[in-house]
Symmetry: C2
Subunit: 193 residues, 2 copies
């Protein structure tokens, strides 16, 4: 029970707890109905502590969106992979994000907010552009790299909507390998010559 | 100025005006923040008239969603077209709906509501399933017709999100023929052997 037994500093745990509760609140209530006060209540902390760690609601939301922190470098690594594998690797990477329960909750929050809130839509557009499509386009040695990256994004976003958000069958329950089987050639065509 | 000079009955005009204002209100405010009273105010009619024509808010929303009325038969005709043209025809049909200003407004309202409202999401899922993917799947003489129709739906929904909702460039400003050029082969692969 001593603070020297190797547990993480309480501040780090609290910060993570607040983030987790914020993700839940944004996902369940949407951006505009979620207050920092409500997040503080869920995390059982003083609202001032939420502000101390994350600043404004916008900034907290941005922090949530940027999980995982190294997304852009992960995407750049995918695009730099051998051209013949690119479609499959991009699909697998995207599915891994959504099949993870914690990441899926943040992504759902982001999508819900973007649709109901013009400001959140701007944030999401900027985020997708900077963290995902930009790095992807930058490594494509092909004509119209930005358009190709955006087309790939359109199929992946559509998959997310149908499989994870509106949960339409049979795509919602389809096993991951079958999703890869169907989508990899589409991504491959957009992202290769 | 006589009622006998050939103008349509006032009731039909008023009904259309209410529908139009409802589309604007749902699109701008989202489903949950829009009341029948607010729609009546926009259309400058008594709220009782809105109820008389359309029933509840849910029913009005469903009426809006079902425009154009003959969507299901149009989709069935597309799928029955020669197999080699199918992808291109489906893409052109979908683009025509979204490139039309009035239809785009109702579709935007539907999407916004579906994301913010579980009940509206259920309605949208049922609508897409019954009016679009069902008729499409029913005419595909291929293994897994329902999955194929749903995959086609995922690419088209992703296109709508990226091009018309979050308006990401260069796809948002791309000319229609170029969109067809890029997407038709994807749809063709999902909807043909």
């Amino acid at each position: 029970m001593s603070p020297r037994t190797g547990r993480r500093p309480a501040g780090s745990d609290t910060r993570q707890l607040i983030l987790k509760k914020a993700g839940t609140a944004f996902s369940e209530q949407g951006y505009d109905k979620t207050s920092l006060r409500a997040i503080a209540r869920l995390a059982k902390v003083d609202p001032a502590l939420v502000t101390h760690y994350f600043g404004t609601k916008d900034q907290l939301f941005a922090t949530l969106m940027r999980l995982p922190d190294n997304l852009a470098s992960q995407v750049a690594a995918l695009a730099a992979a051998p051209s013949a594998d690119r479609g499959e690797r991009v699909v697998r990477f995207f599915l891994a994000l959504w099949e993870n329960e914690a990441t899926r909750q943040s992504l759902l929050a982001v999508f819900r907010s973007a649709v109901s809130q013009p400001q959140a839509a701007d944030s999401l557009r900027a985020f997708i552009s900077d963290a995902l499509l930009g790095p992807l386009a930058a490594t494509l040695d092909l004509p119209e790299p930005r358009l190709r990256a955006t087309l790939a994004g359109s199929q992946l976003i559509g998959l997310a909507i149908v499989r994870y958000i509106i949960r339409m069958e049979p795509l919602a329950s389809l096993d991951v390998e079958s999703v890869v089987f169907w989508l990899a050639p589409t991504l491959q065509r957009y992202l290769s010559a």
